[in-house]
């Protein structure tokens, strides 16, 4: 009787694990089908127009913006960010650099730009999101190569790593609580183990992405902001050092991967 029950238990467990892999395969197939007709293309087109149009009080376009590869070089720039910028003597991620260019080149007011950086669900995209989508598309297929040459870049990575493993908030979560081991998921969303090189590459390469459930393109800054919200941490300030440092850490972990962004997600 006991042996029969154990046999039944083993059969049940193996049936369950087979079903889970089957589900993941189906979800992967569903994601492949979604790839075609990614609405992020429309956002990219709008972003390209914003990049090339003279705007702001200075009536200048962003075509002289230096994203780290020289003024005006957009191709491949996103895959090499965050990096150290001598003109501001600190490490900046893409969105910080974009706001910097919009303020210094075009004369926009910084407070106005960062007041509402992310569109609400169903709302039209913000200019920052459109521009981010355009620039990231120009790095599609490029190898991720976040630099670690300058002392400040290395320091940023170290602080980012510290943040990744730092437990806080009412749940005593760290990033590693969800993203530090294999095989975890929240409901039907699998959580990539970001300490594993292969998974880290895939994850970093897929952001920014069009989020079908929200009808908008979401950037890396948004993803980190939302993770902090999900952990019930205090709000992650847009373009803060913490956000940049975490991005540096995740980016360096993903070095060697290939940018796939903008991808399409649930």
């Amino acid at each position: 009787m006991k042996r029969a029950m154990v046999g039944l238990a083993i059969a049940c467990v193996s049936a369950m694990s087979y079903a889970q892999t089957d589900t993941q395969a189906e979800i992967e197939k569903y994601r492949q089908l979604l790839q075609d007709g990614n609405p992020a293309e429309l956002v990219e087109a709008a972003g390209e127009e914003l990049w090339k149009t003279p705007r702001g009080p200075n009536k200048v376009s962003l075509e002289r913006c230096d994203l780290g590869l020289g003024p005006g070089v957009v191709k491949g720039a996103y895959a090499r960010l965050p990096r150290y910028f001598a003109d501001v003597d600190r490490v900046m991620d893409f969105e910080s650099r974009l706001v910097h260019c919009m303020v210094t080149l075009q004369g926009f007011n910084r407070e106005d730009l960062v007041k509402k950086p992310f569109a609400g669900a169903g709302e039209p995209q913000t200019d920052l999101e459109k521009l981010t989508t355009y620039v990231v598309t120009q790095s599609r297929g490029v190898t991720i190569a976040v630099p670690q040459g300058h002392p400040k870049e290395i320091a940023s990575f170290e602080r980012g790593r510290k943040i990744f493993f730092y437990r806080a908030g009412p749940y005593d979560f760290s990033c590693a609580s969800c993203h530090g081991v294999d095989g975890q998921r929240i409901r039907l969303q699998e959580l990539p183990n970001l300490t594993d090189a292969a998974k880290a590459r895939k994850a970093f390469a897929s952001w920014p992405a069009y989020r079908v459930s929200q009808g908008t393109v979401r950037t890396m800054e948004w993803r980190l902001y939302d993770c902090f919200r999900q952990q019930r941490f205090p709000e992650l300030k847009y373009l803060s050092d913490a956000a940049v440092d975490l991005t540096t850490f995740l980016g360096v972990q993903a070095n060697g991967g290939t940018m796939e962004s903008p991808s399409i997600k649930r």
Binding site: D36, G37, P39, E41, L42, A46
Partner: protein, 103 residues
């Protein structure tokens, strides 16, 4: 001027396969905003596709079609290099027309 559509047209055997990604908010008119007021309907009602001035598709869309509609269809009689023109009209009278060359 509403945002541009992305149109891709290529040969699939004897027929031409066209994919159109339209940029439109497609508000159904049933949603309520944060203050409880109905968000008024704003959606594409009609899509017409032409090939060499011949209508190959005439579609009636409604509020059931979701945001940023992706329309894929095939038609016969097209050859690479020829033009396909797609026009949409919405319930507020706005319209947008874009063209693509068959690959």
């Amino acid at each position: 001027m509403p945002d541009a559509m992305r149109i891709r047209a290529n040969m699939q055997g004897e027929k031409v396969a066209v994919r159109v990604l339209m940029s439109h908010i497609m508000e159904t008119g049933q949603r309520k905003d944060a203050s409880g007021k109905i968000v008024s309907a704003w959606f594409i009602q009609n899509v017409v596709a032409k090939h060499n001035n011949r209508v190959v598709l005439d579609a009636q869309f409604g509020p059931a079609v979701s945001q940023n509609p992706l329309l894929a269809f095939t038609f016969a009689g097209g050859k690479p290099g020829e033009k396909v023109q797609v026009t949409w009209t919405d319930n507020r009278g706005e319209s947008r027309s874009d063209e693509a060359t068959i690959a």
